[in-house]
């Protein structure tokens, strides 16, 4: 028997000798961690600092001297500020600018003539003052002398200050600040409507005996396969100025809140539906039996058993829908009209006005609700897990004529709504001139005759989707493997997991803008990927990283944690176990990650809209641009091309999964 001593022995804690496996794993984790830092952390940080940077021409910081015609005798030095005081050439308003603002030095010399023999001297009065001669940057308090011909090319650069100036400007601009209210309002209404419908549908699928459940399930997930622009286009056709059902709106316009809500319900429905469906599927039949044995009424059972059982699912669905709507850009761009929304504001500020700092400010504001929703949702999900009991008995509904018919009718109605929107786009893509000339035509598919990128854009999209699916699956799975299976480096794994969870909280528009700031900077050695397919792939993988990461993590967690211990005891290197066991067992999950990334890469607009170049135009962006240019029918046609592609991809995925499963997973 040992004596219990209540103190630890002296000396340092032992550290395990690192094996080659450990070093390899550490190396991999460092590489993928670095990827996430470069592709996510650093751009967001740069964006944040941009939103706090204000640019302003500091006229007191520049001093000039002018010579006489001989170029030898110099007048007294005078600051630009003093010159401007006399001349008034630059107003106070013009002094505020952005990082790209430039001010020609000749403005302060009305009599300037580039052919004159007069020489000019310029210097900064402080170290920070900088000016450009052509594209050469000059700095410092040394006098520099230029002849008139050269002086013509001297421009002053603004000084940057750090502060919340931009945010003050934002909130004092009513048109911009109002977008916060609009966005929150639209997101809230859409959330209530979508979650209610989704709950009813999920209830119908899990608690009734109505027929055609599989079919409904399939139909209700269709909206995932199309860009969020597409419901907007469908609504324009149905209820727009030339819409067939325009009168149904009783004089209200579809362009604005009504269109945004209907469209949002359409494209967020599958997300909410699938979450609530999962929550309702795990119901414990014993609770229903207990309720029945206590003679509870149907309504009482519904309110005390069904709803509470799914409450975490409901809350989670609500947050997902809210985040999707508030961060979506495509739909309000198409159908929003003059109704300002935050995500569209970013686009307008950046693309329309080239005001990057203000774009960054709106991005930061948009981050707040998204991050908040994300944090609350994660907490909820953790509790949901604790709710599950391993001994639960699956619930099997019994037929009930009235309830089943009601459920069936409702499911039909919603399916009709989903199919109707898609069908509208399909018709729009195939007829000559809706609604006046309904003859069928393929001219709307002649994308090469229109702006937007033509068929090359479609090819680019496929390329992007494939590259995203392949590289994304590899990176995500390798990263999740390191988080789940590497021993030690607890801190590193924690940081890594946090980075992997972050993209969920970052709206696409924000990510895209952050990429501009980070990668479109000549000082960044990675700036060479700006404008290439590479940056689109990096951005898309990062944008959809979290869900893929969680899928991989779930698959890995289902594996016996002792596999690694057994592998080590059998003296096998980790990669042998990885390729021989881990990878084959997780293959279905990896394929699911692949198709998820593919579908999203095909439909995404928000992040890539800032990043495509003339060589890398994308189908989803083409939909946006053609719609913008008034070519709505071709936009619908391109949207349908994306839809077809995703359907084919889904079918292929199902076939490949099945084939691989029967071949490599005979054990299941």
């Amino acid at each position: 028997m040992s004596l219990a001593i209540d103190y630890a022995p002296p000396g340092k804690r032992l550290r395990q000798q690192t094996s080659r496996d450990d070093r390899v794993k550490l190396g991999f984790m460092a590489v993928i961690g670095l990827y996430l830092i470069v592709a996510l952390g650093a751009p967001l940080f740069v964006m944040l600092s941009k939103s706090l940077s204000t640019y302003r021409f500091d006229l007191a910081a520049f001093e000039f001297q002018v010579s006489d015609e001989t170029g030898k005798t110099w007048a007294d030095a005078v600051t630009a500020e003093a010159l401007n005081r006399d001349l008034g050439v630059v107003t106070e308003k013009d002094l505020a600018t952005n990082s790209d603002g430039r001010l020609a030095a000749t403005k302060f010399f009305p009599e300037f003539n580039f052919r004159s023999p007069v020489h000019y001297r310029i210097r900064g009065t402080a170290d920070g003052a900088a000016f450009l001669v052509g594209s050469t940057l000059e700095k410092g308090i040394e006098w520099r002398e230029y002849d008139s011909a050269t002086f013509r090319r001297v421009v002053l650069r603004p000084a940057s200050t750090f502060g919340i100036e931009n945010f003050k400007t934002y909130f004092s601009t009513p048109a911009l600040a109002r977008s916060i209210y609009n966005s929150v309002l639209m997101a809230s209404i859409s959330t209530v409507v979508t979650v209610s419908i989704a709950f009813a549908l999920a209830y119908a699928l899990t608690r009734s005996c109505m027929p055609l459940k599989g079919l409904f399930r399939g139909i209700l997930t269709i909206p995932i396969l199309v860009p969020s622009l597409l419901p907007g286009i469908a609504l324009v056709y149905l209820f727009g100025n030339q819409g067939v059902f325009k009168d149904w709106l009783l004089g209200y316009s579809i362009y604005g809140p009504i269109g945004i809500v209907i469209g949002s319900v359409f494209f967020t429905l599958p997300h909410a539906f699938l979450i609530i469906l999962t929550a309702l599927s795990v119901a414990d039949a014993r609770h229903y039996e207990a309720a029945a044995s206590l003679k509870a009424s149907k309504w009482r059972t519904f309110t005390t058993v069904t709803v509470p059982g799914a409450r975490y699912g409901l809350v989670s669905a609500a947050f997902v829908v809210f985040t999707l709507v508030i961060t979506d850009f495509g739909l309000p761009k198409v159908i929003g009209g003059q109704y300002g929304m935050l995500a569209v504001d970013i686009y307008k500020q950046v693309i329309g006005q080239q005001n990057f700092e203000m774009g960054a400010v709106v991005s930061v504001i948009l981050l707040v609700p998204a991050v908040l929703a994300f944090v609350v949702d994660r907490r909820m999900q953790k509790r949901q897990v604790a709710l599950l009991s391993a001994r639960a008995v699956p619930y099997a509904p019994k037929p009930s004529g009235r309830r089943d018919s009601l459920c069936f009718a409702f499911s039909c109605l919603v399916s009709l709504f989903v199919l109707g929107m898609i069908a509208m786009c399909q018709i729009a893509a195939l007829v000559k001139f809706w609604p006046y000339d309904l003859t069928l035509t393929t001219k709307n598919f002649a994308f090469d005759l229109m702006d937007g990128g033509g068929w090359a854009a479609y090819a680019n999209s496929i390329k992007l989707a494939l590259l995203t699916a392949i590289f994304g699956s590899v990176i995500v799975f390798a990263g999740a493997y390191m988080v789940e299976k590497a021993d030690g480096f607890r801190l590193g794994r924690g940081v890594f997991h946090f980075l992997a969870m972050m993209p969920m909280a970052v709206p696409g528009m924000v990510l895209g803008l952050a990429y501009i700031f980070f990668f479109n900077n000549p000082a960044n050695p990675l700036s060479s990927i700006y404008g290439t397919m590479t940056i689109l792939v990096v951005c898309t993988v990062t944008h959809f990283y979290t869900v893929a990461h969680l899928t991989a993590l779930t698959a890995l967690k289902q594996m016996d944690p002792e596999f690694e211990s057994v592998g080590a005891s059998l003296k096998q290197p980790f990669h042998r176990l990885f390729f021989r066991v881990t990878l084959p067992v997780c293959l279905p999950a990896i394929l699911n990650i692949g198709i998820y990334l593919f579908v999203n890469a095909m439909t995404t607009v928000s992040a890539v809209v800032f990043l495509y170049s003339t060589d890398t135009k994308l189908a989803s962006v083409a939909v946006l641009n053609m719609d913008d240019a008034g070519d709505i029918a071709p936009a619908a046609a391109m949207g349908m091309m994306i839809f077809y592609t995703n359907v084919v991809a889904k079918l292929l995925h199902a076939a490949v999964s099945r084939g691989l499963l029967t071949r490599t997973q005979a054990w299941r």
């Binding site: 028997m1 057994v566 005891s569 096998q572 067992v585």
Partner: protein, 391 residues
């Protein structure tokens, strides 16, 4: 004693290790001053233990006692915070798991689900430069050894739990490890399969002569299989000894209480060397205790001998002496448990506390013991164990 060992007939036979002193020197596995802490929680406290070559040792204790932590430290899966482990003369204290020499079997089997039985067993043999034919031969031999020669092409999910655990065992011994670690290998199995498999594991271990450590919380399993049992509690070793030692001579109250059933009574040592329990004095060895010391007296239900109404009238053959510590008791409850009767007795001389005693079916019939009846029972002097109070 050395000369007696030298005439042992089989050189591979396992030393009948009874205690630390019998371990051949140097021991195969040496553990010295091992500590393991997680933050403020100390999972292992100053553990030192020697295990001889070929021994079958069980780590036994309630959940959370540190037995699995100790096993994982030996395996290099959870490194100890402090302390030294030496295996076969080699210091393995900080070696990664893959550089140590052991095979391991887990409660969950941890068979690779996508590989066939054959591929599972061959996993540690491939990639080692052995020719394919040799690997195949070894796999067939191992399947034969664990009694599942026909299952080679099946997948783990197609086998029963007991069969899967045998495959896991075959996989672990495939690489002929110097040490076999079993982490609750039988806990996930049905009672019958468990009993059957424990005989097989024991027989296999004897045949291979491989030093084996098994972690279990099942005392019956430990008593049946181990050469030596290490009883652990709260991160310390309570007692190390052979199964009979542990059962018959528990050195601490915890061990007495944890192994088998016990009656516990508060007691006090009397000046005449007897102990006072309830209102009366009982004869009992009082080693290490002084008169007046508070103690806990322990007696196992199976050790209580029934004597019918008048013990002095019936003299059993094996107990010729006059019974000591004889008390009157009334039978309150009788519970039939198949092999024996469990009774709850009340004895005025013991105070208010009930006495639980197990009587054989035979004795109950012979002595006509029945609920409400009064009998005499003997608490044998040498079966009454005394522990200092609070220990």
């Amino acid at each position: 004693m050395r000369h007696a060992l030298s005439i042992e007939p089989t050189p591979t036979s396992i030393p009948r290790a009874a205690d630390q002193a019998n371990i051949p020197s140097p021991p195969y596995l040496e553990i010295r001053d091992l500590w393991k802490s997680y933050g403020d929680f100390t999972a292992l406290r100053d553990i030192s233990l020697d295990i001889g070559k070929g021994e079958f040792v069980c780590f036994l204790g309630p959940s959370g006692c540190g037995k699995t932590t100790l096993l994982r430290a030996i395996a290099g899966l959870d490194l100890q915070s402090h302390g030294m482990i030496r295996q076969g003369g080699r210091d393995i204290s900080i070696l990664p798991a893959s550089k140590r020499d052991y095979g391991i079997v887990f409660q969950s089997y941890a068979l690779f689900p996508n590989l066939t039985i054959e591929q599972n067993i061959a996993f540690g043999l491939e990639n080692t430069g052995r020719p394919k034919a040799e690997v195949a031969g070894r796999v067939a031999e191992l399947l034969e050894t664990v009694g599942l020669p026909a299952q080679a092409k099946k997948y783990p999910a197609q086998l029963s739990g007991g069969q899967q655990q045998r495959i896991a065992l075959a996989r672990a011994i495939a690489i002929s490890p110097g040490l076999l670690l079993l982490d609750e290998p039988l806990s996930a199995l049905d009672a019958k399969v468990r009993v059957h498999l424990r005989h097989e594991i024991k027989a296999l271990q004897r045949k291979l002569g491989v030093t084996t450590i098994m972690v279990t919380h099942d005392q019956e399993e430990a008593l049946a299989m181990a050469d030596r049992i290490v009883v652990m509690n709260h991160g310390v070793i309570e007692q190390v000894g052979s199964p009979t030692e542990i059962y018959r001579h528990p050195t601490t109250l915890f061990v007495a209480d944890f192994i088998g059933e016990t009656n516990k009574f508060p007691a006090r040592v009397l000046p005449d060397g007897q102990v006072e329990i309830g209102h009366s004095a009982f004869s009992c060895p009082t080693d290490g205790l002084a008169a007046g010391d508070a103690a806990t007296a322990v007696v196992r239900p199976v050790d209580i001998i029934p004597h019918g109404a008048d013990a002095h009238a019936v003299h059993s053959l094996d107990r010729p002496a006059t019974p000591q510590n004889l008390i009157d008791a009334q039978v309150h409850e009788m519970e039939f448990l198949g092999m024996f009767w469990r009774t709850r007795l009340s004895a005025p001389r013991l105070g208010d506390q009930a006495l639980v005693a197990d009587f054989s079916v035979n004795a109950v019939r012979r002595l006509r013991i029945e609920t409400g009846g009064v009998i005499q029972v003997e608490i044998p002097r040498e079966r009454l164990l005394l522990y200092p109070r609070g220990a």
